[in-house]
Symmetry: C2
Subunit: 237 residues, 2 copies
DNA sequence: GAGGGCAACTTGTATATACAAGTATGCAAG
DNA sequence: CTTGCATACTTGTATATACAAGTTGCCCTC
């Protein structure tokens, strides 16, 4: 709700996600919107382009903007969403257990993943995620200690992202994800309710701040039957 | 190379992907770029915002635009890329085999997936993809026949996307993907070199045209060890 | 009735301008 | 040496205008 164009964007995100605007509905034309929101056409267009980018509407030259079907309440949603946000959306009972939390020098692969010197200490966190009584996700996080100076079990049980953004006022900017499928390790078998499943889905996550410094590497290991990734992509710009 | 801002965008995509511009390099300021490209600042900003969206650069208020590390030559790349485009990028020897191609009424699930009436005939194509001697992907495509009137084995062996865009001049606009992991079916076991792997990665793909009509549903079934999905996402806009 | 063409609409691109806000630099005062 | 401030830079937002290009509907002509 910061700027004008974000206000317009959020206004329509709400209307579309809540179902007040059905798919195939035509939005008012850009000229009408400028009148409705007492602003300029370029500002309206910024909002509409954002909506189109994120899959809410489709713009057709000469015709107008039309509401698309959104079904982004699936698990897990594409993009950058924390476990806590996800669980809240699903409305399911969930639990995060912190298995270990230690400050160490980065070990082996971590040096490469975080692209730092071995002398730069890091936080290493291992957590399991339980939904509906089943332990489904094993998260192994690694944070640069110079960026996250203090970390407690309580914070890890809650939401690390929330702590970073609200308390430390660090702004998470973007992330790269790599999804692969592997055989479970001994650790996976011990910590997860694998239920006989012979593979795990591994999501490697590289998280960057606004100044493009890589400050977190996460390996998220999922039981395959509970894994689901949804992606929306436009072919050309 | 259509419009000015796309020309600037493509100019820097090339320079960044080819390595001529190293990560952490600072781009010229927006004012400088307007002079360099003989255009206006807003046009430059359109190009830069596109670069930022797609993970090529990071814009920092008060500082400038900086080149990010791009490693999008991984397999398969995120977004909407056809198998032929992918194979070309990887430079590997690849082969597409058409196992069946028939025009039928949509069966069972297809009616739901394509959201059409049972009287609307469709093309059903089953293909396998072989890379480096191993048959790794099983593709089951379903196209609306009113949109794709003619389809031959030759086209299916080449690239259906290319045929659609170049010959039919249909413009693919966006797609939704859902990635899950399942146990292989009898069909998977017969047609793929599963090599003992007990699961397959299933990518459901819903492809839409510019007028937002859903015209294709594809189920792409991958051998898990050869599957890889890369995603780039910005947290806020 | 069929077709062409004009007019009025839509979104897309490009330009110019103004001000806000974050960052870096250097200089002067303490 | 440190602090604070002014200044010149950077990107972000907002506005107004013009024209291009695709779509729709209407009217006129044949």
């Amino acid at each position: 709700m910061d700027t004008k164009y974000l206000a317009i964007y959020n206004h329509y995100v709400e209307k579309i996600e809540s179902g007040q605007l059905r798919p195939r509905t035509k939005l008012p034309s850009e000229h009408e919107l400028t009148r409705m929101f007492h602003t300029s056409r370029e500002t309206v267009r910024k909002a509409l382009n954002l909506l189109a980018q994120n899959g809410y509407i489709q713009k057709v030259k000469g015709k107008g903007s039309f509401v698309l079907q959104v079904d982004r309440f699936e698990f897990p949603v594409s993009g950058l969403v924390s476990f806590k946000e996800l669980a809240a959306r699903l409305g399911k009972e969930s639990r995060t257990r912190v298995l270990s939390l230690k400050a160490t020098a980065p070990e082996g692969e971590m040096v490469n993943h975080l692209n730092i010197s071995p002398s730069q200490p890091v936080w290493q966190v291992v957590r399991t995620r339980t939904i509906g009584g089943e332990t489904i996700i094993l998260d192994k996080d690694c944070f640069r200690q110079d960026i996250v100076p203090e970390l407690t079990v309580e914070i890890c049980e809650d939401s690390i992202y929330e702590y970073l953004e609200r308390i430390l006022e660090k702004k998470i900017s973007f992330a790269k994800k790599v999804i692969t499928v592997e055989e479970p390790t001994e650790e996976d078998r011990n910590l997860l309710d694998l239920d006989g499943y012979p593979m795990v889905v591994v999501v490697e996550n590289y998280v960057y701040l606004e100044d493009a410094t890589l400050f977190q590497y996460t390996e998220s290991r999922h039981r395959p039957d509970k894994f689901r990734f949804v992606d929306f992509a436009r072919r050309h710009q």
